[in-house]
Symmetry: C2
Subunit: 182 residues, 2 copies
DNA sequence: GTCTATATTTTGATAGAC
DNA sequence: GTCTATCAAAATATAGAC
């Protein structure tokens, strides 16, 4: 089995259990590889696994969420394109955000740099589209932050209420919220 | 030491590490009690500790966030009062929300009922004020959900960006967001 | 590259002295 | 009510065969 096949399965475990709840045994079950085999791919154990998964996530963020924001369509269409991919990225709200999970507990100190970098990439990419749409930079930054806030908060509520309807509604009202007149 | 003194210290550990990251050793360090002493208070170990902490949190939610919503001041003042207490409740965004943390991993199945109940209490309490302010029930429910979404999302971003400014800004714009004309 | 076997540490939990 | 001592189970990690 190649590393490329293993990484998404590790990701799923981190997404379900968080960093500290994810154990090598759970990774072993998810990948169908024995524990020792996992150490062949990741000699530094769980921390290295999380680092690789985080890279994988950030690449997905770039390709699936940020790239659509840089097309040559009108701003509203670019935001709608990102939105559709956000829905898929988080499986209609049923999949937790690893950037959020890797900010908890001992993971916070370990991955804080890359998590912060990833969130800022997203916020900046979104703000840039809003500026192109004629919104002043300060407002654009705030609204971009608000968008990420709403997506993350909707994921929390989806888990807490065990119900994806809030997530879908939040996503739907996002483009209008972002591009409303100042 | 009384149970009432122990519980907030356990809470702090759960808030910092999440459910699976919180270990009996960490509880022991936080309370200055040996592991065996903790089992005297909580014979069923970590799960019982989390249950008691969750009760404590829900009581705090009722007294500090929901009670202000039922005063006889104008709706806008009641929401501002809750807002101020939200700021304190989460220590200006620096303290994680246990309702969110207890929705992760194996904690999800264990505490999902009470977490859902607590979130709905909050949403319903907020929606009731909005209805009193003349907002239609459906819109009121949506806006109340949106408020919790924004608070929870702001907490996520506060951790991820290591910066409380977004949390404070979100809180500030919350009353106006909730009571804006339909 | 994957495995079995094993070592080490941490965690969860209990018994019983004081 | 708090402790020491202890145990069993789980988690992390490594050595070495195939």
């Amino acid at each position: 089995m190649s590393k490329a096949e293993v990484v998404p399965k590790l990701m799923a475990v981190f997404q379900q259990y968080g960093y500290e709840g994810a154990s090598i045994t759970r990774f072993s079950e998810a990948t169908q590889l024995k524990r020792a085999s996992l150490y062949h791919y990741f000699p530094n154990g769980k921390e290295e696994m999380a680092t690789v998964v985080l890279d994988y996530i950030i690449q997905g963020l770039q390709e699936q969420l940020l790239a659509p924001l840089r097309s040559d369509s009108p701003p509203i269409d670019r935001i709608r394109a990102m939105n559709q991919n956000v829905d898929a990225f988080y499986q209609h709200g049923q999949q937790d955000c690893l950037l959020a999970l890797l900010s908890i507990g001992e993971a916070h100190a370990l991955f804080q740099g890359r998590v912060q970098q990833a969130l800022n990439l997203w916020i900046n990419g979104l703000a840039a589209v809003l500026v192109e749409a004629g919104i002043t930079p300060t407002t654009a930054r705030h609204r971009a932050e608000d968008a990420i806030v709403q997506i993350q908060g909707a994921l929390v509520l989806t888990r807490g209420l065990n119900n994806t309807t809030t997530f879908e509604r939040i996503l739907q009202q996002l483009p209008e919220m972002l591009l409303r007149p100042e």
